[in-house]
Amino acid sequence: MTFSYYPGCTLKTKGKDLETYAIKSAEVLGVTMEELEDWQCCGAVYPMAKNEIATKLSSVRALVAARDKGQDLLTLCSACHHVIKRVNNDMANDQNVQLKANNYMALDVPYTGETTVIHYLEMLRDRVGFDNLKKAVVNPLKGVKIAAYYGCMLLRPSKTMAFDDAENPTIMEDFIKAIGATPVVYPYRNECCGGYVAMENNAYATKKCNTICTSAKEMGADMIITACPLCMYNLDANTTENNLPVLYFTQLLARALGVEEDAQ
């Protein structure tokens, strides 16, 4: 199984762990991630304004590159996934965005949202299958109680993201079960960590994150997993009460598949 892969800026810098463990684990599972050449930063937040076109173009370029290779586009960072998937939706359904982006880019073949955008977790669930993942596990994480932190970007708006039930998601808990650990369900798992407000208002992010970590701890979690470098940062560096270890889900995947050391 081969995918075009879009890493995004943070996975090459502060969020390297998210990527390294993902690539190593994918190899074990027979999945090849072919990084797109010359990808550009997605901008990290989806430009909601209907009359904003330029900030959507980097996503369109990635989508076109995957289409031209005849591959689905695999994402890993929650924010990149969110932005690229929503821009793809605009390219398919918003004629204004579609027309202006195509006018500007003057592609040989116009782009109208043909590429399938798939997040790494969706790839595990829908292409590899959690049953097959379970079979590939050599080091089941028995007895480890893990709280999945979904945050916002993967789930909402569910009409476009179509990732899972936005109010009661299960994909990360199913992933946790597949690697042999015990999922801990807690009320704040899909509530915002504060995101970008951390740039100018740490206290605000801290308030959000303390509530999340306290909620996870009260439900008995040993650790929290995430797919987003900004959630990771807030839950780790901006939490002051009831801190728990925060890991990328790919690190635990690599651990269960026996390749955690190789990836370092």
């Binding site: 909601m48 304004a49 900030t55 789930l155 909402r156 109010e167 509530e191 951390a198 740039m199």
Partner: protein, 130 residues
């Protein structure tokens, strides 16, 4: 409504791409909002104030920087109104003007730390500056 006020209202509605009159004032958006306590105008008020043409009040509010773009209001709205899109549109009406950026490049070095991911800087810039 004065000419200017009406134009501003039209621009915000065009930017959001939604008719605020679709709102049935149920308050579900504000009930879902994790930023509620930090905002002097709440998500449902953004919708009704845009409808009423009170755009300058929204542009001058702190609330436009407190919204987390978490899309809980968008998810829960039974009428497809997207309060977050009106908040974005009000912020853009302000920061699309020269000199009105909320976050300036010169301020960044002092905010950096070892763990801060690039994603935080990029997203804050996209939200607060043009």
């Amino acid at each position: 409504m004065s000419h200017n006020k009406e134009t501003l209202r039209e621009i915000v509605i065009e930017t959001a791409g939604i008719n605020p009159r679709k709102c049935m004032k149920c308050g579900k958006c504000s009930g879902a909002c994790p930023a509620y306590d930090e905002m002097e105008y709440h998500p449902h008020q953004f919708v009704s104030m845009v409808e009423a043409g009170k755009i300058e009040e929204l542009m001058n509010s702190e609330a436009i920087y407190m919204c987390l773009s978490c899309f809980a209001c968008v998810e829960r709205c039974p009428r497809g109104v997207e309060p977050a899109s009106f908040i974005e549109a009000a912020r853009l009406a302000l920061i699309r003007q020269s000199g009105k950026n909320h976050l300036k490049a010169e301020e960044i070095p002092a905010k950096l730390n070892d763990k801060l991911p690039q994603q935080a800087i990029v997203s804050a810039f996209r939200k607060y500056s043009k």
